[in-house]
């Protein structure tokens, strides 16, 4: 058995230590918000936070998460109210929506580390996440918007 904490909940899974975290999250724990897109860390659809850092769960062995904190899209906020989630909805970012969990999880780390990212910062942080619907311009706008909301919130 491997013990890990997922979205604040202690969980135990009977998994081969080599099993990618993605399939533990999806197929063993039933959290389907984290997506499979490529299996080789090329598209970012599977992005989750491991101890607060964005990782591609499709190539992260579950053994690496043993005893660690994992956050998935389901745990990004308590009530779908992370500034990025609000900005995403305000800007109508999602189209098919399949990649957006990964986009949001990547953007969340960017925004935490860099509360006021430039376009270049966004390029650097978000270019590992593919969106076949081409929502990039709206993702960019929404990240800027979330940064403003975040700062507005911090001031008040």
């Amino acid at each position: 058995m491997i013990s890990l904490t997922v979205n604040g909940q202690p969980r135990e899974v009977a998994a081969d230590p080599n099993m990618p975290l993605l399939w533990v999250i999806r197929d063993l724990l039933g959290l389907t918000g984290t997506k499979f897109g490529c299996g080789v860390a090329q598209c970012g659809a599977c992005t989750v936070h491991l101890n607060g850092e964005a990782v591609r769960s499709c190539v992260t062995k579950v053994s690496r998460a043993a005893g660690q904190q994992v956050t998935t899209i389901e745990g990004l906020s308590t009530n779908n109210n992370h500034p990025l989630q609000l900005a995403w909805q305000e800007a109508d970012v999602p189209q098919c929506g399949y990649c957006q969990s990964g986009q949001l999880m990547s953007a969340a780390v960017l925004l935490r580390e860099n509360p006021n990212p430039t376009d270049q910062d966004i390029d650097d942080a978000m270019s590992g996440n593919i969106c076949r619907c081409g929502t990039y311009p709206r993702i960019r706008a929404a990240i800027h918007q979330a940064a403003k909301m975040h700062q507005g919130g911090a001031k008040s």
């Binding site: 081969d16 099993m19 990618p20 399939w23 999806r26 197929d27 063993l28 039933g30 959290l31 389907t32 918000g33 984290t34 997506k35 499979f36 897109g37 490529c38 299996g39 080789v40 090329q42 598209c43 659809a45 998935t72 899209i73 389901e74 990004l76 906020s77 779908n80 989630q85 995403w88 909805q89 305000e90 109508d92 970012v93 999602p94 189209q95 098919c96 929506g97 399949y98 990649c99 957006q100 969990s101 949001l104 966004i122 390029d123 650097d124 978000m126 270019s127 590992g128 996440n129 593919i130 969106c131 076949r132 619907c133 081409g134 929502t135 990039y136 311009p137 709206r138 993702i139 960019r140």
Partner: protein
């Protein structure tokens, strides 16, 4: 399928009261699709109002990113008079009530969902509003003419009834023969727009796609496919595969061997351990290099006539200047972010399917045939589609049938999943095409002769869905055939050579226009330079009898300040094209960095007639532009000895955030016929980019993708 004959509703913008006949009997819900809540009001297959005040709108088209989950409810809400956030939206199952109003089968495609449903969904809402108002009049004793609706209530004199309260009474009333639709001046949603109804579930992980199907007893299956198209299993040894923990079964199905396991990881490990010997068959003879040579040779000869006027050969011989071009377009994979998958559960003489599909009725029929069951015993559930782009509309139901084969062979409910590599290598591509174009210009540089031959597989011919293929498949030549440029050329010929290959092909976002617009818009650019004219001016002259092309072109030229000199190192290119009834013009601004192109900014104008949801139209333009950018920069699948050489996103690249340009979209204020949005920005994007590359480098690119050409900035 020629939708140009059927575009309707253009007249509604004239204003005034609109009388519309109610939904015909054929659109009543048949027994198969059950109402959402018993005891509620289900005036037609599109709407249910529960006694608990829930309003459920059922979609005849599926949501794959294009925003129809929002637009169809908008149309209905406009007439029903409810707030959009009161509405629960769901996909319809298979029912003839959900057949496309023009195409006659249940299909999401052809950028047609909004215009083809514009009347029907408004009608569905207006019918319900009429009956609810009558029910309120009866209950209150107030005359119908003195009743009015307001956001989910009927106001009858001083009384106020919720729709839910009236649902039971309304359900007992006979359907009205005709209803009055709201005039455009009263519209609250149409033309103004709405936020996406599905944005919330698509930002918190709740949205369910086919890949997310989970239920007790459901196993995951992965298939080892033949590495060469048309190949077959000769023999296989499952010993090692079965030894993988979690692998339950290994079964042979037509075209491959399926490994069935407790979860994805086990299925994937099992498939790696599986040993299969293949009979590759004649498909090994196919190579992209030899295919290119053969197609080029064919394209130099006269194909079957798709469009002809005068004597193009004689006129070419007399022309003052001759432009010759040979274009090559590779096979392309749709590569939706959600790899193909399907869940199938067989239970006695019934089968239940969960699949993100654009063609549910066809899938139902194909599954029924395979299992020898009645079609009504096949229930198709449609979750959200993680991208479609045409790939989820296979007339042969390939990925659905594969899942059913596995469920049948194993006796277990299975979720059949493809990996990205399966998705890349297992077929149904935009076909490989070659164009040979010869244009003769007169002394003023205007076209006087045009000879254009196209070579490629026939999508409609191989789909066999709309009857026997005609000698010329329109989807192979659309965009050249009927081009407004050709109409100005007194002597022209468009010919088609239809080829056959083992490679399965399919419609791909904007279909034939993916290559025809490229050929047309780059050669017209070449003609403009040959004539010593500005590319926009030259097009304006040629398009003087095509007002909608001109409207889009003029708007984008003005917004992008076409004539204003750019900063040093920046260059512009333009293209304009009609597809699916909409006219899109694009101006791309590029620079050349390290022998590669960087697209900085794309301005886009569209004339789609009435834009029901303007921000939705803008989103689809952005989407089509990025899709076109990917196609232009990287789109290429190559075959060697019958095997696809690309594997995953590292060698079949998709444009990323750092390559995403600034995009500005402008909508022409148009009262013309409604057209589509989903596919329409794809065709002019690549030619606008390469026309800008020509401005920068003096080099024409005839073979996509651009990455195969080393770009050198002009001194």
């Amino acid at each position: 399928m020629n939708r140009r004959n059927f575009i309707q509703s253009g007249a509604i913008l004239g204003g005034g009261l609109l009388i519309s006949f109610t939904i015909p009997q054929a659109n009543k819900l048949s027994a198969l699709a059950k109402p959402v809540a018993a005891g509620g009001f289900t005036p037609n297959a599109f709407l249910n109002i529960g006694t608990d005040n829930t309003v459920t709108v059922t979609l005849s088209h599926v949501e794959m990113g294009q925003g129809i989950w929002t637009t169809l409810p908008m149309l209905l809400a406009e007439e029903l008079d409810v707030d959009l956030d009161q509405i629960i939206v769901r996909h319809g199952g298979v029912d003839k009530a959900y057949n496309h109003t023009i195409y006659g089968i249940q299909i999401t495609g052809g950028s047609s969902s909004t215009w083809s449903e514009f009347d029907r969904y408004r009608n569905a809402g207006a019918t319900a509003r009429t009956l609810l108002t009558q029910a309120a009049a009866q209950r209150s004793g107030v005359a119908v003419t003195n009743c009015k609706t307001e956001k989910g209530f009927v106001l009858a004199g001083d009384k106020k009834f919720s729709y839910g309260e009236l649902a039971g009474d309304a359900a007992k009333l006979p359907a009205p023969q005709q209803v009055t639709l709201r005039p455009p001046s009263d519209w609250k949603y149409i033309g103004k727009g709405s936020k996406r109804v599905d944005a919330q579930v698509k930002t918190n992980g709740e949205a369910k796609f086919g890949m997310d199907m989970q239920f007790s007893g459901l196993l995951t299956a992965m298939v080892a496919h033949a590495p060469v198209f048309g190949g077959k299993v000769k023999s296989f040894d499952a010993t090692k595969a079965k030894a993988v923990p979690g692998v339950q079964q290994v079964v042979e199905i037509p075209g491959g061997v399926a490994v069935i396991a407790d979860h994805f990881w086990a299925a994937q490990q099992g498939r790696k351990a599986l040993q299969v010997t293949w009979d590759n068959g004649p498909g090994t003879a196919l190579n992209t290099t030899s295919q290119t040579i053969a197609y080029k040779r064919l394209a130099a000869t006269k194909g079957v006539s798709a469009q002809a006027k005068g004597d193009a050969d004689a006129a070419l011989a007399k022309s003052a200047k001759h432009i010759s071009a040979e274009y090559v377009f590779a096979y392309l994979a749709h590569a939706p972010m959600e790899p193909l998958n399907c869940t199938a559960k067989i239970d006695g003489d019934h089968c239940e399917i969960w699949a993100g599909t654009q063609l549910p009725g066809v899938d139902q029929a194909n599954v029924a045939k395979l299992l020898n069951m009645k079609p009504e015993n096949i229930k198709i559930n449609i979750p959200f589609l993680g991208g479609g782009f045409g790939r989820r509309a296979t007339p042969a139901s390939d990925f659905v049938i594969e899942a059913v084969h596995i469920a049948k062979a194993s006796g277990k409910p299975v979720k059949m999943v493809w990996t990205r590599e399966d998705d890349m290598k297992s077929g149904y591509y935009r076909p490989f095409f070659v164009h040979n174009v010869q244009v003769g210009l007169d002394e003023k540089g205007m076209p006087m002769a045009w000879n254009h031959n196209i070579v490629g597989q026939s999508i409609m011919g191989e789909a066999k869905m709309f009857g026997p293929p005609p000698p010329v498949d329109d989807t192979s030549v659309e965009g050249v055939k009927g081009s407004p440029y050709l109409n100005t050329v007194p002597d022209h010929y468009v010919g088609l050579h239809t080829t056959k290959e083992v490679v399965p092909i399919l419609w791909f976002r904007s279909v034939g226009n993916t290559h025809t617009a490229y050929a047309m818009e780059t050669i017209v650019d070449e003609m403009a330079y040959a004539a010593g004219q500005d590319p926009v001016d030259y097009r304006q002259t040629l398009l003087k009898s095509s007002p909608r092309h001109l409207a889009a072109l003029n708007l984008v030229a003005a917004k992008a300040n076409w004539k204003t000199k750019l900063a040093p190192g920046r260059f512009k290119g333009v293209a304009v094209h009609e597809a699916f009834g909409s006219y899109v013009a694009i101006i791309a601004e590029v620079s050349i960095v390290d022998n590669a192109v960087r697209v900085h900014k794309v301005d886009c104008a569209i004339d789609c007639g009435l834009a029901v949801n303007p921000d939705g139209v803008k989103a689809q333009m952005e989407s089509g532009i990025i899709f076109g950018l990917t196609m232009a920069l990287y789109g290429e699948l190559t075959l060697k000895d019958g095997q696809v050489q690309q594997n995953n996103f590292y060698d079949y690249r998709i444009a990323r955030m750092n390559e995403s340009p600034e995009i500005n979209v402008y909508i022409v204020d148009s009262k013309e016929k409604m057209g589509g949005a989903g596919e329409c920005a794809v065709p002019p994007t690549a030619p606008a980019i390469v026309n800008a590359i020509f401005a920068a480098t003096g080099k024409r690119i005839y073979n996509l993708p651009i990455m195969n050409t080393k770009l050198i900035k002009q001194a």
